[in-house]
């Protein structure tokens, strides 16, 4: 059963210790800045987004999820030449959505994770595009094939990443 509708009491809520809470997003930000220089293919990946989704659906706390997404997004923006807040807003929305979904659904197997990550990657791109075009007036071009392909690649990587990060989960 890929996605299970459960009540809030039935789903497992996880927490993470502080080194993981800080270290995993920091590592994701670092790899996102370092890897594309050596392998340009990695520019298509959004590791901070995957980490945001993972923490969101694991903690199942909307406030925690949106704050995690917000902080990760703002720091990701700080490494670019663009105004700070574009990724911040998009990841805030994704963090909120992922944690809200986590409250309702039990997303533990690979198929469900693939689907959820795919949807959130597309949602993230849409919000990013709207903010960049509407608020910052960046000239961006929307290309469905590119965005879907990037979302699919991110979802595949996300499945493996989530299983790797599962070992750091602590039951509450």
């Amino acid at each position: 059963m890929p996605i299970t509708y459960t009540s809030g009491e039935q789903v497992e809520v996880y927490r993470f210790n502080w080194p993981i809470t800080i270290g995993v997003p920091a590592t994701a930000l670092f790899l996102q800045a370092w890897l594309p220089r050596h392998l340009s293919f990695f520019a298509m990946l959004d590791l901070p987004l995957l980490v945001t989704i993972f923490f969101g659906i694991s903690r199942r706390n909307p406030v925690s999820g949106l704050l995690t997404g917000s902080i990760i997004g703002v720091f990701q923006d700080a490494l670019t030449s663009l105004p700070i807040g574009i990724n911040g807003i998009a990841k805030t929305v994704v963090g909120y959505g992922a944690s809200s979904l986590g409250v309702k659904l039990d997303v533990e197997n690979a198929g469900a994770r693939l689907l959820v990550t795919l949807v959130f990657c597309v949602a993230h791109k849409i919000v990013y595009f709207m903010v960049a075009r509407g608020l910052v007036n960046l000239s961006m071009q929307w290309s469905w094939p590119h965005e879907l392909w990037a979302a699919f690649i991110n979802a595949i990587v996300g499945v493996f990443l989530f299983f790797a990060l599962d070992r750091f989960k602590q039951r509450t």
Binding site: R37, A43, V63, A78
Partner: protein
């Protein structure tokens, strides 16, 4: 009321966080310059990421150097032979270019053009990227402590890379020329058409603002025009890869960057540009006929004494006669060119530039005697710089050759400050 707040707590927090970020965005967008409000966050982010990047970069380079410098030396001899042949070819090319450069300087001096020279560069290593497809920027391991400032040009030996956008304590962010927010003044090498080199959303580089009725051929080289006041004129930008009609009256010209922007390892930051009027080092006695004589094929050299009738003309350009061949001293140039082989200048000694148009007696004499009126026909506006107005600024040039017993072509940019590299090497 409390129940409402409790019920919609998550939503209220979401709206507040989003509102705060939208407000922050609005502040940043309104101010065109880098805002201090966002600078602190950028410093935190950069300082937390770049140290690890530097360490990894150092480890990567060290292992690479050990492997390539001590173990993997296959083909080095063949490469050495190839490089030697290349040096010979480049030397020949340099001689030709020196002639052109000398002529260009003379003409620029006549019209009192101002030139920009790269006076000082700082080598830097690329340590990271912005990690985003929307922002094409890289990080280098030199920053404020190394004298870097925003808007400094960043180049490689192949061509331009971008400009310094943000400077931190020991790192800097460089905006690449393929970023959609970048803009560089460009000029087509052959047709001399000027436009703006911009990046596109997909990371390509295009040359804009070229009217569609202008002929532009694929393969034509694009260079910097100097109009942006960041890049000095003449640096290679890339080559035209595709030309198509644009939506308006302009052409859509795609440019393949000369520097490989996706595989940058080391770059040079231009930390100092010198702008000055080119100096005319020759005396007023240098005539157009003498310049022409250098370019024309001539009869074999004869001893000057063999033809007493041409003694007057030959004496003016005789290299062994110091009074005639020595250029008039520009103000501040204290010494005559050191042509004494017995006292060669030391390699690190600063010596004044050599005369740029020393013709052999035979070459100088015969055409000038035939076309002696050429200099007289020059209009007054084309007077040599030494005759018009203030004296040129004092310039001393480091001559890398220890001795110069025979007349050689002038060193490239002999009147320009010698570019220096400072830094770790």
């Amino acid at each position: 009321m409390e129940s409402v707040l409790g019920r919609y707590k998550n939503l209220i927090v979401l709206v507040c966080v989003l509102f705060a970020q939208v407000l922050g965005l609005a502040v940043q967008v309104k101010r065109t310059t880098d805002t201090e409000s966002s600078r602190l966050i950028r410093i935190w982010a950069v300082d937390s990421v770049t140290p690890f990047e530097k360490v990894l970069n150092w480890m990567h380079n060290s292992s690479w150097n050990i492997w390539h410098n001590y173990f993997y030396l296959r083909g080095v001899r063949a490469e050495n032979r190839g490089l030697k042949a290349e040096i010979e070819r480049l030397r020949l090319e340099q001689i030709r270019l020196n002639e052109d450069a000398a002529q260009a300087r003379r003409l620029q001096a006549l019209f009192a053009f101002k030139e920009q020279f790269i006076s000082q560069t700082k080598p830097a290593q690329v340590i990271g990227s912005s990690g985003s497809e929307q922002s094409r920027a890289i990080y280098i391991d030199k920053g404020e402590s190394d004298g870097l400032k925003p808007d400094m040009a960043v180049i490689t030996a192949d061509g331009i890379v971008g400009k310094v956008l943000k400077v931190f304590h020991s790192t800097s962010q460089v905006l690449l020329i393929d970023d959609q927010s970048s803009g560089v003044g460009g000029i087509l090498e052959k047709s001399r058409l000027q436009g703006i080199v911009r990046g596109t959303r997909s990371g390509e580089v295009v040359l804009e603002h070229i009217m569609s009725d202008n002929p532009v051929q694929p393969g034509e080289v694009v260079r910097t025009s100097g109009g942006d006041r960041i890049f000095p004129k003449g640096l290679p930008v890339g080559a035209v890869s595709q030309v198509a009609s644009g939506p308006d009256l302009f052409l859509t010209i795609r440019v393949r960057p000369a520097a490989n922007l996706s595989k940058l390892e080391e770059v040079l930051v231009v930390t100092k540009l010198v702008e000055q009027e080119p100096t005319q080092l020759e005396s007023g006695s240098v005539r157009a006929a003498d310049i022409l004589a250098q370019r024309l094929p001539s009869v074999p050299d004869k001893p000057p004494a063999a033809d007493p009738s041409k003694a007057g003309a030959g004496e003016a350009a005789k290299p062994s006669a110091p009074a005639a061949s020595k250029p008039a001293k520009p103000a501040g140039v204290s010494n005559a060119p050191n042509t004494n082989a017995a006292n060669p200048p030391k390699p690190d000694e600063k010596v004044p530039p050599r005369p740029q148009a020393q013709a052999s007696p035979a070459r100088a004499a015969s055409p000038s005697s035939l076309t002696g009126g050429l200099t007289a026909t020059a209009p007054s506006a084309l007077k040599p710089a030494t005759e018009k107005g203030p004296a040129p600024p004092p310039v001393k040039v480091v001559d890398p050759t220890p001795s110069a017993p025979k007349p050689k072509p002038a060193a490239p940019l002999a009147n320009a400050p010698t570019p220096t590299q400072d830094g770790p090497q």
